[in-house]
Structures are given as structure tokens and as C-alpha cells.
Amino acid sequence: MKSLHVEGDTFLHRLPAGLKLAGLAAVSLLLFLLHSPLLLAFAAVAGIGLYAMLGLGWRNSWQRLRVILLTIVVVSVFTLVINSPVDAAAVFFRLIALFLFAATITATTSTGDFIAVVTTAAKPLEKTGLITASDIGLAIGLVIRFLPEVLDRYQAIRDAHHARGLKPKPLTLAVPLIILTLRNADEIAAAIDARGIRSQK
């Protein structure tokens, strides 16, 4: 799986992660309040400009973005058929802007910083006495870390079916996947204890 994060030291990389994520939330809200295709087109151009600041080049950018860009085109075409050209233009530019802003923020924020922001944002929840903010941050890191491994394992189980000439069925795929994942989860939990990552509460 390709990493969403792009190493670098641009102005955007240096901005505090909390500011970037708060900004992204505000911009997203604004984009849904706007309906003028012209204003949304300006936003889309701003999104393109921002993404270009990453300096990835056309080819690399296209590779990273194409799947979602094509999805946006499909959604816009549907809107064109069902609603009006104006609606379709608004949807197209809004989604382009939204997606490019989000992609830029993801590309310039490391998981560590992202976790730190989430942990800070979750601090007020600690008052409920049900959770620890740092655990929420760690949980997000764990999901990002182990999702590719779970997908690999799914592939491996499917390959094992093919190799033995068995037809993969949802049940025979899911059961070993769940068992293997749970066994891994036990080990990961033991490792977190052993490394003292959660030791001081």
C-alpha cells in the first residue's frame, strides 16, 4: 500500500498539525455552504495550487490522485444527468477542492503529529472517566500501522484457497482471518505492555 504521507520540509510541513486539521475542518464546512460554481471553481484552483506546493510533479500526483479524481468525475456526470449543469459544476469543483485540501494536509502531516492532535482534542473526554486520551491517539496509530498487514493476511488466505483448489467463501476466508488477527492483537498488546508505552497513566 502506498504511503499517503510525503516527506519534505515545505511551509506546509512546518505548520502545526492542529492548525492544519482545524483549518481543513473549517474549509470543508465552508465548501458545503457555498453553492456558486464560480466561487467553488476558485476554491478548486486554490486546492490545485496548494497541492502543487508539495512539488510531486504531474506524473506522481496523477498516480496518487487518479482513483478519487475519476470517482469525482463519475459523480459529477451523474449529477449532470439527474440535475442541472450548474449543480454538476458545483459538485465537481466542491469535491475537487475538498479532496485536494485534504490530500495536501494528509501528505504534510506525520502520523505522530496527527496522533498528538487527536490526543489533545480528546483530552476533554477524559473527564468522563471512561477513556484515556493517549489511548485514542495510540489506537489510531495502530489502525494505520496494522491495516496493511491485515490486508496482506487476507490475500495470503485467499491465495492458500486457490493453491489448494478451494473456492474462497466468505466464511472460510473470514474465520482464519479473524483468528489470525486476534492472535496478533494479543501479541501487539503484550508488546505495548513490554515497552511500557502505556505505563504511566
Binding site: 500500500m1 504511503s3 504521507h5 516527506e7 506525520s110 502520523t111 505522530g112 496522533i115 493517549s134 495510540l138 496509530g141 495502530l142 494505520i144 500501522r145 496493511p148 498487514e149 496478533n184 501479541e187 501487539i188 503484550a190 508488546a191 505495548i192 505492555d193 513490554a194 515497552r195 511500557g196 508505552i197 505505563s199 504511566q200
Partner: protein, 225 residues
């Protein structure tokens, strides 16, 4: 470093896996050998309190594993049989910094500690890599770095070379031999522990031999025959 077992016993679901054991470990380099299922991993996990004794007592540096688990784990670092499960964040340098998260260090101090430990194992180039993409040998070195960055007094390694190819095995062996820390190494790789100060051999949940490598390895060969 002083690790003590006093009539310590391990049971899983009522089955005794490690029979009552009394010993004291003070040597700098200790090897642990034995057949599959003989209780090596259980023994090692008892040292850092991941497995607690069902009877008896285990202590590290005077701290009881049943009472002072956090203190014991700060003294005794552990490398698991499966190193990929102990690296819990997606990017290596972030994971290593996470081990320092409960210490009161500034961001710069943390960064220095992280790059220092990566340089020590010659894996500075892996700092920004996705953990998911690392090879077996790289993962083993990464796991070493992630544990040693917290400066434990003793490092326990569960079969550090068993999944590696010849080249990486050589590299990890060399790294282990170069470690200045106190180490306890579980291994089926008899060359690796041949030069150690003391070797323990487990058989069916009991300590079957304990002493200098030559004698204990000879006893192990009899058991395996």
C-alpha cells in the same frame, strides 16, 4: 542486574508449563535453549512480568514482577519472537519515539535519542520508512533499536535470528555480539550462544542443565537425540 526465581511456577489453564524453579541470574550474557514447547518463551516472559508466577516469586533488581510490573518492564527490555508485532506505529522513527513517550524529554532530545539509536545499529536510512515494508532483518534491527532507546538494564531476546536468511542472521548475530547491555537470548542457533557466560537448557518445563555453554549444549544434544 539481579534476576531471581524463587520456587516460581507457570501454569496455563491449570496445566503446569514451568515447574517450580529457583535460580539467580547475574551473568552478562545468558543463553536459553531447549526443544520446541519446553518452556523457554514462558520463562523469558516471566522475567518481565508478561507471565506472572502462579506460585512462588520472580524479581528483577529487587522488584517483584507481580507487584511492580511497570518498574520491572523499564529494567527488562523484551524482543518478541515476532518482531513485526512489537513495532506499533506506521513509521519507524515515530515508533521509536513512542517508546520515549512516558519520559519527560523535549522534542529535540527525543529526536536526538531516536537518530542516535538508529545510527548505532546502522539503520538511519530506515528512519522514515513504513514499518510494513521492512524486511525480516531490518525489522529485527528496528525492534532492537525501539527497545534499547529506553536504556533497559537487561535485554531479553526470543529467537532473534530464527526467521532470517544467512546474510541477515550474520548481521544480527554480529550486532548481538557487539551489544554492551546485559542480554538473555533464547535461541536454536547454538553458534550464537556458544561464547556466552552461562547457558540454561529447558526440557518439558524443567531446567535440565545450567552452566557453561559447552556442557549445556552437550546435554541438549543428548536430550534431542
Amino acid at each position: 542486574m539481579d534476576i531471581r526465581f524463587e520456587q516460581a511456577e507457570a501454569r496455563f489453564e491449570g496445566r503446569t508449563v514451568l515447574h517450580p524453579l529457583t535460580l539467580s541470574l547475574t551473568e552478562r550474557r545468558i543463553g536459553v535453549i531447549g526443544l520446541n514447547g519446553s518452556g523457554k518463551t514462558t520463562f523469558a516472559r516471566m522475567i518481565n512480568g508478561l507471565v506472572l508466577p502462579a506460585a512462588g516469586k520472580v524479581s528483577v533488581g529487587g522488584f517483584d514482577t507481580s507487584k511492580d510490573g511497570d518498574r520491572v518492564r523499564a529494567l527488562a527490555g523484551f524482543i518478541f519472537q515476532n518482531p513485526q508485532n512489537q513495532i506499533v506505529l506506521p513509521v519507524l522513527k515515530e515508533d521509536i519515539a513512542l517508546g520515549l513517550s512516558t519520559r519527560k524529554l523535549s522534542k529535540t532530545e527525543k529526536q536526538e535519542a531516536v537518530s542516535g539509536i538508529l545510527a548505532r545499529f546502522g539503520i538511519g536510512r530506515l528512519a522514515d520508512r513504513r514499518v510494513h515494508e521492512l524486511s525480516g532483518g531490518e525489522l529485527q534491527l528496528a525492534a532492537l533499536a525501539s527497545v534499547l532507546v529506553t536504556r533497559p538494564d537487561v535485554l531479553i531476546m526470543d529467537e532473534p535470528t530464527n526467521q532470517l536468511d544467512l546474510k541477515n542472521r550474520g548481521l544480527v548475530e554480529k550486532t548481538i555480539h557487539g551489544l554492551e547491555e546485559n542480554i538473555i537470548v533464547i535461541s536454536h542457533d547454538l553458534d550464537l550462544i556458544g561464547g556466552f557466560d552461562r547457558v540454561l537448557c529447558f526440557h518439558e518445563g524443567r531446567l535440565a542443565a545450567d552452566g557453561p555453554p559447552g556442557d549445556v549444549i552437550a546435554r541438549y544434544r543428548e536430550i534431542a537425540a
